[in-house]
Symmetry: D2
Subunit: 321 residues, 4 copies
């Protein structure tokens, strides 16, 4: 059980892409390569079958097979969370159970589209917990831009009190800085269990969120080493240095965070960095234009240049201070 996520989980859980061949089949060779890449960048964990993993484009069999495959390969090296969100509790339960049997660290559940009002959301998570069986750690995925379902700090605390199994918040509301502050403050003042908060939104607000009380990131930015280094600097006490490093990557963070086209950019960068054989999304999906690719050439070259200059600059600050 030591590999399970808990309230104490911290670090960078990278949202894995799903690599495809040009005919649309899952490219398992690239899955291996991608896992090696993520390990090499130092990430602390993995999340598969997220929205950015194109989970909604996989058949149920493919989801089960990919889950088993990733857990077999990554399991020893990386604790892995499996996204199980879906329209049917039967299907969610099957995926949860297969995942946990194969060694997953927990499951992630977004509220179903169409849920309205605090009570509906509250009851939904109660039903999910009942449906998937006991002893499975659950991540609440709070991503209203995609689900249309909004979570107030009070409601989250109510969920935390009622369902001990919810041990983590995948925080992806926007704006969301105030939400982290409120949850941390109210949790402490009211003596409510403190859960893990990992942040998404492509890391656009990552250093600010760490200051607000986040415990790390859960996002798929194509340079996960930045996510790791910022985490390490920040928790080593070098708060400004963490943000300096982050800011060097911010132009690309912003670029990859564009709605709809962002995943194609992410996969293209991962492909250029050797992590996956083909950058293709399963159809239908955005395909980068020639102009996009040239833009990316420039932005990646600028990052290289800035890293060389900037890191020395960053270092000089902190030597000086």
């Amino acid at each position: 059980m030591g590999h399970l996520i808990s309230e104490e989980t911290r670090g960078v859980f990278v949202i894995a892409v799903t690599p495809f061949s040009s005919n649309g089949a899952i490219d398992y060779t690239s899955v291996d390569r991608m896992l090696d890449f993520y390990v090499a960048q130092g990430v602390h964990g993995l999340t598969i079958l997220g929205i950015m993993g194109e989970a909604q484009k996989l058949t149920s069999e493919e989801s089960l097979k990919l889950t088993r495959y990733v857990l077999r390969r990554a399991g020893n090296r990386l604790p892995t969370i499996v996204g199980i969100s879906g329209a049917s509790f039967n299907v969610m339960r099957d995926l949860a159970q297969v995942s946990m049997e194969a060694g997953a660290a927990g499951v992630m559940v977004a509220p179903a589209t169409g849920l309205r009002t605090d009570d509906q959301i509250f009851n939904y998570y109660g039903s999910v917990c009942d449906a998937i069986g006991s002893d499975i750690p659950v991540v609440y995925q709070d991503y209203p831009q995609s689900t249309g379902v909004y979570l107030s700090p009070n409601l989250f605390l109510r969920l935390v009190k009622a369902y001990p199994r919810i041990v983590m918040l995948k925080h992806e509301d926007c704006p969301g800085l105030g939400k982290i502050s409120t949850i941390r403050r109210e949790s402490e003042q009211q003596g409510i269990r403190r859960v893990s908060i990992l942040v998404g939104n492509g890391a656009l607000y990552y250093p600010l969120e760490l200051r607000r009380g986040a415990d790390g990131a859960m996002t798929g930015f194509a340079y996960p080493e930045m996510l790791v280094q910022v985490f390490e600097r920040f928790f080593a006490g070098d708060v400004e240095g963490a943000e300096d490093l982050f800011d060097l990557y911010l132009p690309l963070v912003r670029y990859e965070q564009q709605p709809n086209v962002g995943l194609a950019i992410r996969k293209e960068i991962l492909h250029r960095r050797g992590a996956i054989a083909s950058p293709v999304l399963r159809a239908p999906g955005y395909m980068l234009t020639q102009a996009d690719k040239q833009e990316l050439d420039r932005l990646m070259a600028r990052l290289e240049r800035n890293l060389q200059d900037g890191i020395s600059l960053v270092e000089s600050y902190h030597v000086a201070t």
Copy 2:
């Protein structure tokens, strides 16, 4: 103060249209005629500056002038609620105060578009109550199809407990039958103040809603006499007779309840019935086609025929039983 709405208010508050001339100016002569028409049909009250009153197309001056005009003419005959929903508390306060000084029975407020979560809605109404000044009875307009803001029964009861000024629910959620039942049951079980519930949705579920605990209707169906007669039959104990009468009108209720085009149909019927000089909406607005008008000819003729046959039929049932 006897004319103010309260928790005890019952009956039919018709949502008034705003009559325009073909050049887009408010047609005050038709306002007079319309008020006479509504009085003649026996309605118990009036609501002006609703969405179906094209309030959002009026300037602030026009809203103030129309409000004063209607209240002067209708005030003695019909208690009148004024819709004050808007983006600014300053503007809402001015309209509320002018309305109440001119003799309004209360004001109606829909939650601002963009409110999310129970807490945001709860706080919004607190701020509204503070902003508009004390002693003004407030109607909560629950119309999520238009506002995108959802109200749970529990949240409504929380509002009722916190803000004594909220005396009425304009119920227009869909589906909404269960909401009425839950509010009535929980209100009684928890000993929470029972407020007035008047129903909208073009009256599409009116007799069912009365059985669930509604106190009447607040909608603008172009045959308001039906709304009144159903109300009277129902509360006289003739529940089935009320529904029989309603069902005769249901084809037109359904027709007028079509999104977007419904208001043009309503104004056309009111025009044909002599209540307003011109059926025109202030531009931009839907204009009936020739096919629409012929369809309406048929539906109105069918109603006439059904009323003749059906009412005797309805009567024969209830003589027999």
Copy 3:
């Protein structure tokens, strides 16, 4: 190939529910019973794996198995359209090919959520046609209340001109009467291929839509015999009689057409009528309350009474005229 749908297809294609056992498994015995029921009510065809068939709650394997099962049982008696909408062309292609090999009459495709602008929709259907392979008749499912994707008459005609495989419009926009009129008029004036239009929206506007140029209905109202009889009367020239019959059912049409709760009502009625063993939806789904069931008792009893009285009334009109 004679069983395939085409531009000439007319009649009532009932949207089949998917029967479940209380444990959430597909109840194949009830599938048989339901097919017998639909045949006995005289429907002309069947549509499976629609939104109201809870398709989104089935795994890919379940969808394939159910499709093969229904087509084996119903194939000879009822031409069957299979809904294949999904997030992945790979998955859609597999389902389309399995369906057609098993004897389906065609496939139905809704535009993917998130498509915007005429060009995006146009290109999407081109890609779908390419992806699923040639010679498969396609139904465009126009249901913007669910998909958020809007189809203008001009765009539909552009699609009809470009893709000969689109032979039918499942019309479910609301308001949508004007759209039917415009498509029929423009199609004729511009000499564009006339396709089949079957209407949905729970049949709420059915007789009006037939007058506007629809060729029948594709919806799952729990009294499909009404849909059939209205169709037959209408095309036999008894336009008013068709509408008289429809109006007798309108209170229940309206009741079943409530968003979110409508499917639970439909399954309850089908259960009461003996068509399926259990009314349960696959979780999560709405469950009728005691108040709902009593309401339905009344509405069904009122329908029985009205049918007895009303049909003789309907008949007397048309004897007299």
Copy 4:
């Protein structure tokens, strides 16, 4: 007429905030101060009554009075565009005419919420052009995140061909880089009039958009001097230098671009910089928390530091190359 915007308009048109006193009244003294501030930062023009100007919270009288006031003070120094979007053509026409008589450079119109399909949008702009009278230059405000109305490149070119009065696109779609490229390429290939494109989205993609063919920015970032300097560097040929400068501000651009809270941040910065007396939004509006203000302290201090170090760094690159 020389002050009117046209297809050739280039530069930075800053979206002006509307300064309020703590009681919610428009603070005209701050309007003066703000205009001086914008002039001092070198902006080329002004846009008032935008969404970020809280236009929707003003009464019609306030809008007219503010428009006249700003045009009298700014008119000679800054060409000014007036946002006239609204629900009523009557109201829009009055505001347009008052604006132009008072010396405005043009008007900006967003498509009405609820428009769907290319044809509806196309016809809407035809009606707007008819309604407001001839000879008024019109900016198409393309901001689907707020309006829910999507504009394809083809539709925009169709509008440009049909309505000579549309001389500018306020580009605020996201993702939107491809749209600019497509409009520029198709416009050239098809020989369609080239219009001005100014970009919004808080400038988040500004240097990329300039490379794609934009002519400047129309946004209200609280450091408008950056917008001006990037514009000048870029069009002087120093493309990389423009982006280097931009990137120094990107952490604050990103921070101010947060939905819902962004305007409060913008006003706070403008207040701190002395441009307006009070940072308050007209209620209801977001109020910065203590944590927000401390965060802003840090981010503004980091900008100062980076500007000192970074600009010399930027300069050293371009001396070297």
